[in-house]
């Protein structure tokens, strides 16, 4: 179904880091490019490789180095392009805190330490999501969430809320409209609703034993990738009601459970236009799944499975909203492999 297309060359190799591949995939409605990726970003320790997807693109490769004034070492934990306000920005979570760059990664627009642990200990920001392009939510190593709002017509952000919900470090955050799902190192997932000023916790999904590495909210689904190699899809339709002051007791229902990979699932992505799910794993496989609903029962079917020989995959993303192309990055190599139907 998918065939190996071209290989992109990074200037430095990819670090071992979950979801170590970000794509600048402008949403279909806003840009002319109609949801086709223009750039990808891969982390190498405290550096971010930003390269164009096609050679004909005018945009040049960029190399962003995240560092502080002192000689304290920095590790970049996550990179994500987000629609925020009226602009696309490059959001970076690192051991130095939260940094927001312009789309090209040239100018630093905003930064915040987001620290809750002792200053001399290992702290980092991980988990980045936007709510309706108006609000930015981030997690950190202390399990604390922070919400920042966009000031009118500016990319400058203002602090809005801080919430403690996790006992362990946040690994990923997913969002849809004003709903939010956050996951941590121990595998616990919290579901939240943002009422305009405050994050309200509405449900919790207990751990299955291993860490959650990525999660995604779309349609009525919450797809979760686990370190054990499992993909679990939960029903997220019940978490869409407003908060009335009492703590709801709705249990989030498990819809499907798939033993998908032989090792840690390091990356996951969703092609919203096709309900395709991408998972990349340390077992050297990248797998594409289709999620669908038949007679009110959700199913997940394997569409394609590709092996990149002897590569511990650490990142994978669709290159468009229809899921007809994707690319994967791997630890210790500077190659990004692209696939196309």
């Amino acid at each position: 179904m998918y065939e190996r297309e071209n290989t992109l060359l990074l200037s430095t190799s990819a670090s071992a880091l979950c979801n170590n591949l970000a794509v600048n995939r402008p949403s279909g409605k806003s840009g002319k490019s109609g949801g086709n990726a223009t750039n990808i970003a891969v982390v190498h320790q405290n550096n971010i490789n930003v390269i164009p997807v096609t050679e004909s693109d005018k945009n040049k490769p960029m190399f962003i180095t995240v560092q502080s004034n002192s000689s304290v070492l920095c590790e970049v934990m996550q990179v994500l392009w987000c629609d925020l306000g009226f602009e696309v920005v490059l959001v970076v979570g690192s051991t130095l805190g939260l940094h927001i760059y312009d789309r090209e990664g040239v100018d630093l627009l905003f930064s915040h330490p987001c620290i809750d642990g002792p200053e001399d200990e290992y702290n980092f920001v991980k988990g980045i999501a936007t709510l309706n392009n108006e609000v930015l939510c981030t997690g950190n190593s202390s399990g604390v969430l922070r919400v920042f709002g966009v000031l009118d017509d500016e990319t400058c952000l203002s602090f809005m809320d801080r919430k403690e919900g996790h006992m362990d470090a946040i690994t990923d955050i997913a969002s849809i409209d004003y709903r939010l799902a956050t996951a941590d190192d121990s595998g616990v997932i919290c579901l939240w609703y943002f009422n305009g000023t405050e994050l309200l916790q509405i449900a919790t999904i207990e751990t299955f034993g291993s860490a959650v590495t990525s999660l995604f909210l779309w349609k009525d689904w919450l797809a979760v990738a686990y370190g054990s190699g499992h993909i679990r899809i939960f029903d997220s339709s019940k978490i869409n009601y407003t908060y009335d002051g009492s703590r709801p007791v709705t249990a989030v229902r498990l819809l499907t459970e798939t033993a998908a990979h032989a090792r840690y699932i390091t990356a996951m992505d969703v092609a919203l236009g096709a309900d395709y799910l991408l998972t990349a794993s340390e077992d050297s496989y990248v797998k594409i799944w289709r999620v669908c609903k038949n007679n009110n029962v959700t199913e997940i079917n394997l569409l394609c499975s590709s092996q990149i020989n002897d590569q511990m995959l650490v990142g994978g993303r669709f290159l468009n909203n229809n899921g007809t192309a994707f690319c994967v990055s791997a630890y210790d190599t500077n190659l990004v492999h692209c696939f196309k139907t």
């Binding site: 290992y122 190192d185 033993a259 077992d283 029962v297 630890y331 210790d332």
Partner: protein, 322 residues
Amino acid sequence: MLNEKFLDELFKPQKIYNKDALKNLFHDLAHASIMRLNEASMNKLYDLMTMVFKYQILAAREPRDLILITLNHMDAMRSLVQTSQVQKQLDACYYLVMKMYGQMTDGELQRVRFSILNFFQDIRIRVSIFLRKGVQNNDGSFVIPSDLTISYGNEIPGTTRVYQADGTIVDLLNFPSGGSYSLAPESGSTELRGRRGTDLGVNIYDSGKPVQTDSDGCEDSFDVAGNTGYKDELNVLIAQLRQEQQAETSGEDPSSIIHFNLFPSFDRDSPGSELFDEPTSSSQHSAVLEAIMSEMSLPSESASGGSGGVQSDLIQLLDSIQ
């Protein structure tokens, strides 16, 4: 190495060492024994050690394997040394390891694992024994086999369970998993003495035979035969190091099987190499460690400074500290 003060210092939360400091530490450790290595041999020994370790961390089935790999190392030390004092120090070290890593969540251990992998990022030295065993590729990357063993308690890929509203399974879907995976028969034990359930972290020159790690076999395994066995392995290692050294000095074809590429990241004069510079915040900490190290190697230094012929071994050194 198992000195109480040294271990206490080692287990304090601290920034990751820079590569130079780590190499110096192992240089001092190696020379605390009767072994004398010139710079080239030391470099090769260090490269061999780091690549084997990188492989162990990369090949781990799950993050918890980090603990089992560490315990395999310590079990090997335990079977090498009979002194009750050192055995006690090993016990103390075991409790420190379990206290620090035993309670960590899956994700936390994975971050530790990723940190180690990132420490060895871009170091791809070819190791002859790995190339021979088909574990490593010619470009220095490691092989990910298609017959991976799935950790105990986990599930072999290939099945989807579909649930209905009341939480019961309504359907099972199967798909090809891509590999021929098998399930580990038992969970690796993290007890003081137990079956670790993984070969990662055991002697790679131990020609394929499983290392005895069960409780009663541990101490008995150190007999005369075992003794010569270790001696043979050491001789093979030394011969290998010497051979490479000779080949290098006699100007033989540098593209022979074992090509050691010594830390390209060091030589590179790019801004990226600053990554490994020692952070000032931790320099104080490493100074403390160095002080303890120098304290430990004091007898050796005075000995070599005196006649040069007197060689003290690690056990004597450790005894002298007590």
